[in-house]
């Protein structure tokens, strides 16, 4: 049965590709959505079967056939469902399905072939992601890993007529390839060292070993896999593709950020938790990179004016949280955050899509405002998502984020906790900046009088970008605002409910909960032999520090509320203050608006040198001189030799006869006087 979970989206892909856009839009949308719904149904059945098993050894395995057989090297095409992949397939198919439904309305302006192309990519994306999370060994995971990279390229560059979209697609693909190189090396090294690519056997081989004190082979494998994860999951230094990925259609951003793709890196570390636990130094690197990414991306989120870019940086920041959790060994907390984040980030992106849809393509926060009255469904669902991501008590993000912060603090890295807490404050600020700018205050349609009051540096940009007021064609777009149509509203409402409720599967023990999800996931993060003896070991150590956890929860709740309050002060009560702050610290503002000049630095230090290397050495040197030289050289040698040897051909019959005679004499002479 497991095979049907990835196979159904693949079928949807084949139908939509094969029919080549000859299907009417309603059918291609329905095929894609139903494929996802069916996959979700199968997933639910399978996970239910999984839950009926005893806690220690929960797994469902299906081997389809032996993919590669070469002596001792056997790679079966095996799918394995364990608690970790169970959670992942529910997220991918469930939230993926909602995004498909939403897309049927969002993409309605496309022509039928484009529409079918869009949905075929979407289904293919889900197929590869499901293969990635269900694969029982590195090679199958790698197929999915590369597949989602390909689909992200196809979908980010979906509007390929736009050069910026085509570039963003290429950027995503190339940046991911850098991580992939490290990933492949890590996999090969793991095979050389342990002789297996199966996750369970690898964990079994590692189980009896002691964690590496010094940096050794295991640490190197872990580090290489982590570099692969930084590419896919947009961590420093390879996060640059994600903000640019906003060029794709908005539901694609939701799919990439919430259900698929970026979660792959977190999943990879969770899947190899035993390996990473044996490499404590690498774990520390993971934690530090995660914390730095969280705060670094959060800073840029504070000043971005594109609604989707704010969300993109918030995704990078939240992924940083997940890596922080992984790095301090709180694998379950990291996956839990992945789970809750999937709900509210999908919600936020789809909400942003609804706003953009209503405003006929307007993405700039400076030209929004006051949408609360016209888009009530979008507003309320978006607000839920924002509250959840900010970590307001009682919503999904609160439970997972506090679990991460608590575990970070408990791991003894107080400064990492401090970074996490600061990021938490920033998350609240930038999310509510977005909410207040988009939904509250006066409406600031492009070119209208109100748009001038946004602030000095922004107004200056506005003059440059917006040009003179063109009331005739720009202003009326706000006149007939319509809230999300039903196909968009229903996913929003479902996801909003999820954003409120998803956290309760991990209701912490200190409030009398069971932290069910942590206990559910724990067997996936331990060596197989140890999994059965796991029962009850965890609770004792944690119980002692409930008072500490309570203090930390109060602190971070306070931070979340303070961030919201601060955003309200800055963007509702005193809208002139942000502009004055920007004017006071122009260098800081420029630094943040330009995203830390990271793209420029990469361009100068990497892209341009590689370009010039390619052009001057590889093209003009190697290709023109060496390769072309070799080809032309062969021709030249033949011509020159012919020119020299042609003089033997005198045309004189007598000379030929003489050479025949001489040859005969020489041969006879050789045999006579030998």
């Amino acid at each position: 049965m497991l095979i049907w979970i990835p196979l159904l989206p693949l079928l949807g892909f084949l139908i939509n590709t094969g029919a080549g856009g000859r299907l009417p839009k309603s059918i291609s949308g329905a095929v894609a959505s139903l494929a996802m719904l069916a996959a979700f149904g199968v997933s639910v059945v399978e996970v239910a079967a999984l839950l009926n098993q005893a806690r220690g050894g929960r797994e469902l395995v299906q081997t389809i056939y032996t993919w590669i057989a070469s002596g001792d090297f056997q790679i079966p095409l095996t799918l394995r469902l364990d608690p970790l992949s169970a959670l992942m397939i529910l997220v991918v198919t469930g939230i993926g399905f909602l995004i498909h439904v939403y897309s049927t309305a969002y993409m309605h302006d496309e022509t039928a072939p484009e529409y079918a192309r869009y949905f075929s990519y979407l289904n293919l994306f889900a197929f590869f992601m499901l293969l990635l999370v269900l694969g029982a060994n590195f090679l199958i995971l790698f197929v999915g890993w590369e597949g989602v990279g390909l689909c992200s390229y196809l979908l980010i560059g979906f509007w390929y007529q736009k050069p910026s979209a085509a570039d963003a697609g290429k950027k995503a693909f190339i940046v991911n390839r850098i991580g992939d190189v490290a990933f492949i090396l890590g996999v090969l090294l793991a095979f050389v060292r342990f002789g297996t690519l199966d996750f369970q056997r690898l964990a079994g081989a590692l189980g009896p070993m002691a964690p590496e004190a010094a940096f050794g082979a295991v640490s190197l494998i872990a580090l290489l896999l982590f570099i692969g994860a930084t590419g896919k999951s947009a961590q420093i230094p390879l996060y640059v593709w994600l903000p640019d990925a906003m060029e794709g259609p908005t539901p694609v951003s939701a799919l990439i950020h919430a259900a698929t793709m970026v979660t792959a890196g977190v999943y990879l570390i969770g899947r190899n938790a035993v390996l990473f636990s044996h490499a404590p130094e690498v774990l520390l690197i993971v934690a530090v990179v995660g914390a730095l990414t969280a705060v670094w991306a959060g800073l840029f989120g504070l000043v971005q004016t594109d609604i989707k870019r704010v969300l993109a940086y918030s995704t990078v920041s939240q992924l940083g949280y997940m890596f922080l959790a992984m790095g301090v060994g709180a694998y379950a907390a990291g996956i839990f955050h992945l789970f809750t984040h999937a709900f509210f980030k999908a919600l936020l992106f789809l909400g942003a899509g609804a706003v953009i849809h209503a405003l006929a393509g307007e993405q700039d926060l400076r030209y929004m405002g006051g949408l609360r009255r016209d888009l009530p469904i979008t507003y309320w669902t978006f607000l839920m998502g924002s509250l959840a991501i900010a970590g307001v008590p009682g919503l999904a993000g609160f439970f997972s984020k506090d679990e991460i912060l608590y575990r970070t603090f408990a791991s003894g890295h107080a400064w990492l906790w401090l970074i996490g807490a600061a990021t938490s404050l920033m998350t609240a600020i930038y999310m509510f900046r977005l909410v207040f700018l988009a939904f509250h205050g006066p409406r600031r349609a492009r070119g209208s009088e109100a748009a001038r009051g946004v602030g000095a540096p922004q107004a200056e940009l506005l003059e440059r970008g917006g040009g003179p007021p063109r009331l005739n064609d720009e202003a009326p777009q706000h006149a007939h605002l319509h809230d999300a149509p039903r196909a968009m509203a229903i996913p929003l409402v479902v996801l909003a409910l999820g954003s409120i409720l998803a956290g309760y599967v991990g209701f912490p023990e200190m409030f009398g909960g069971a932290n069910w999800i942590e206990h559910f996931l724990e067997p996936s993060f331990t060596a197989p032999a140890l999994a059965e003896s796991l029962e009850g070991t965890e609770a004792a150590g944690v119980a002692a520090s409930h008072s500490l956890e309570m203090v930390l929860v109060i602190v971070s709740s306070f931070l979340a509320l303070a961030g919201i309050g601060l955003a309200a002060q800055l963007y509702l009560k005193h809208p002139g203050v942000p502009a004055r702050l920007a004017a006071r610290f122009p260098w800081l503002y420029r630094f943040l608006v330009n995203k830390g000049y990271v793209d420029e630095i990469y361009d100068e230090t990497l892209v341009q040198p590689i370009r010039s290397l390619s052009e001057n050495v590889l093209w003009k040197g190697l290709d023109t001189r060496v390769i072309d030289g070799a080809v032309n050289g062969v021709g030249t040698i033949v011509v020159e030799t012919g020119a020299a040897v042609r003089h033997l051909q005198t045309g004189s019959m007598r000379a030929y006869a003489l050479s025949v005679l001489l040859g005969a004499v020489l041969m006879v002479g050789y045999y006579l006087w030998r």
Binding site: R646, L648, Q649, T650, G651, S652, M653, R654, A657, L661
Partner: protein, 100 residues
């Protein structure tokens, strides 16, 4: 009584005369005739070998050679006639258009 060596020496002499004819004469027809002389020198040694070994093989080969020589003379003379029609000379040094 003539021995095998006598025949072979005679054959060598005739062959050398033929070779000298090919290289020294400047008339295509004479050159063709010289080639015939060389062929017949070889025929003579075949016959001599065959005779002194008591075998008919030498004579059989000579029949073949005569046949081939007849064909060769026919083709060669046809070529010579054709060449003569083109350049009005039989000097082999005149035909150097194939010089590389």
């Amino acid at each position: 009584m003539a021995s095998l060596n006598h025949y072979l020496i005679l054959s060598g002499v005739i062959f050398t005369i033929g070779v000298a004819g090919v290289f020294l004469r400047r008339n295509l027809i004479t050159i063709l005739l010289s080639i015939e002389v060389m062929l017949n020198a070889v025929n003579l040694s075949f016959i001599a070998f065959g005779h002194f070994q008591g075998s008919a093989d030498g004579q059989i080969i000579v029949f073949f050679v005569i046949t081939v020589a007849a064909a060769e003379a026919a083709v060669g003379l046809a070529l010579v006639i054709s060449l003569f029609r083109h350049v009005e000379t039989l000097n082999p040094d005149a035909f150097r258009q194939l010089r590389g």
